[in-house]
Symmetry: C2
Subunit: 404 residues, 2 copies
């Protein structure tokens, strides 16, 4: 059978994620990897989850946990999230919240809700490659999101029309972004709201790393700034996407979206048609863990990860040759490295894997136009100090060899 002849046109845009393909190759114990942006499994609150599942099966919730449930998500969990959102200045109720199977699913559903083929999504340059992957299924064009730049709303609008669609939303990973580690400051966030107001489009605020700030001053979420401007969430165009994957554990696949009710109601319909609901069992167990004590395991994460970040930045200072620059993130998992323009990150990886047994993610896939190949992403979340010292030295050697 000639499958290509019956695939939808969108299938031509489906590509394997470099990161996830890489992850499969990194089982060899002698490779030092800064590639995967995953949490350190040693820090999962394993005992809390064990207890939550044991209690759940021992009590009256066992049947409900194994049964079908509503597409919106488990109400006590949505209420708990609403409380946390209020702490961030996002005043909302459970009706403003949809539970998703990881925040990745929220990105897929938002692409589905907003994008017809040829529509334009405004994204960072670079941006989270998983967002590009999710949106690609809906065949959009991309334009570069630059709040407070000299590009006017009319410029964005004209570019989108020239591509046969309209601008539908601006997407940004806001805190210690994947891949750059950079945080959007308040002025940039307010610039995004102003631009979106002018264009009359949605804002997708990806806050997956929000809980992982190690130092510096917290910046209010875009949705909180917009609520402060406009009075309440029902007047707002920002859709906030959160995740438990970086704070408690990713294996349960639980994230959430917060927005005005008309958006949430549509997302509920999308979820109903796409997978009915997120695991009842996991939602109930995660609610038990989170409501018993969320801040303590997250504080432990912050302490450990911030030490690793410091260690990596110190090693970079020692080991990177001249002409290499990198970011100093206030949180999250990533340092973003810009190499001399003559070095391609993917070629460097191929060489470094072979000669130095060290891994990272080439930066090109984070750019919607595949530009800026002279970049790489390093993750410090799972690396021990000795590995960091050794691994960064190896990368320094690989870069020097490439320059030679």
């Amino acid at each position: 059978m000639q499958w290509e002849q019956v695939f939808a046109s969108r299938a031509s845009r489906m590509k394997a994620s470099e990161i996830r393909e890489l992850l499969k190759l990194l089982d060899q114990p002698d490779i030092i990897s800064f590639a995967g942006g995953i949490p350190d499994p040693d820090l999962f609150p394993k005992e809390d989850f064990a207890q939550a599942f044991a209690d759940l099966f021992d009590g009256p919730q066992a049947q409900a946990a194994l049964q079908y449930s509503v597409s919106e998500g488990y109400l006590p969990l949505r209420n708990w999230i609403a409380g946390r959102m209020a702490d961030l200045g996002i005043v909302c109720t459970a009706d403003n919240i949809l539970i998703t199977s990881g925040s990745q699913q929220a990105l897929d559903y938002l692409g589905k809700l907003f994008l017809s083929p040829g529509d334009t999504a405004l994204v960072g340059w670079p941006t989270y490659m998983g967002a590009l992957g999710a949106f690609n299924a809906y065949e959009p064009c991309y334009d570069r999101l630059e709040p407070n730049s000299n590009r006017s709303a009319a410029d964005y609008d004209a570019a989108a029309k020239a591509n046969g669609g309209q601008v539908k939303f601006a997407y940004a990973s806001v805190d210690f972004a994947n891949p750059t580690g950079v945080t959007l400051d308040q002025r940039a966030r307010e610039g995004m709201i102003a631009l979106a107001d002018e264009l009359d489009i949605a804002i997708i605020e990806d806050a997956a790393y929000q809980g992982l700030r190690y130092d510096g001053t917290p910046v209010d979420p875009i949705l909180a700034l917009e609520i402060a401007q406009k009075g309440d969430i029902e007047q707002c165009r920002t859709i906030y996407c959160g995740s438990f994957s970086k704070t408690l554990a990713p294996g349960l696949r639980i994230g959430w979206a917060v927005a005005a009710k008309p958006v949430i109601q549509r997302l509920v319909l999308i979820k109903q048609a796409a997978d009915l609901h997120t695991s009842s069992l996991n939602q109930i167990a995660l609610h038990r863990v989170a409501s018993k004590g969320f801040d303590e395991p997250v504080a432990k994460l912050r302490e450990t990860y911030s030490g690793r970040r410091d260690h990596m930045l110190a090693a970079m200072e020692r080991e990177m040759p001249e002409g290499v620059t990198w970011t100093r993130p206030e949180g999250g998992m990533f340092v973003w490295v810009t190499l001399p323009t003559e070095i391609d990150g993917a070629a460097l990886l191929a060489q470094a894997l072979k000669s130095e047994k060290v891994a990272f993610v080439p930066g090109r896939a984070f750019f919607a136009d595949g530009s800026n190949g002279n970049t790489i992403r390093l993750s410090f979340s799972c690396a021990r100090p000795a590995q960091i010292d050794d691994g960064i030295a190896r990368i320094g050697r690989a870069i020097r060899a490439a320059l030679a």
Copy 2:
């Protein structure tokens, strides 16, 4: 904000599922409901799941269960499924299997893989409304799947072209179908293969109820028949969708798709971009439960459900007025009722809820063209004998009142 102006064109086809909206209203204890097609929670192997989660958290798998994992799904679970598939005549390896978050998600991903706007999906008349909901997001047209009818492949092809696309697949719920309870016989299955061969399209075989046969002779899956014809799965156009929701428990959201590798590889890319992977934890736990003993809990289900089916069919014989006809399913959860043409199922439900406190699902939503309003679906899976006697008598009275 005028959200409608930024929604994708597909948003106009998103409607709330009548079944799931109904489920929310049925908490009142005095209503007898045959509406929800859900398993009886009293029959979940609760102790087995409790033990599986306890063992898992107590052993070396705890960290992997809480961590990110590959999009394909947990390899031991895929191997276990491959073994069960072989028992059904579907010889395949783990590389032919994708784990999905319920078989509903497989339907969504298959719509995404095959359907561009205006393409045609061939479906039963009626068919599973959740399949229509999943496919609708990709803006297809529907045509009526009638294997072995006098409609030729050229007729289907011409109709699809007139609608601006091409026929992409034929979808069928094959065993004790939702909503009709009817099983496709071998001749119909072979007719589907012949038609799909002529049209050079895919077949989506929805086998969600496959394990729930109570009597009659098992019919080989379409994919097994096609493998027998063509030699091996890589030559086949059928994509088999299975589910643990009706046999073990739906709350974990675990299903699977089986197909030739080029299809599975695309579906893996779709899953990677859409939700990364199905819950690692749930896949590991479910594998432990299934491999420890799958047949015993399913045998218990069959015994209980078949008794309820018999009880419902006996009550129908007693209580239904003349002019009402219904199916006699060999398995599954549903009896499909055709009312005299002057009675609309939705109007009957509104009346019956009020005057008789009894619920069921009106049949119109199962037809892609919203025709055949004089039908209703009854589920016997959760009803006790006394409720069945009482509830079917109530429906009989409601129908008589509507005819009066």
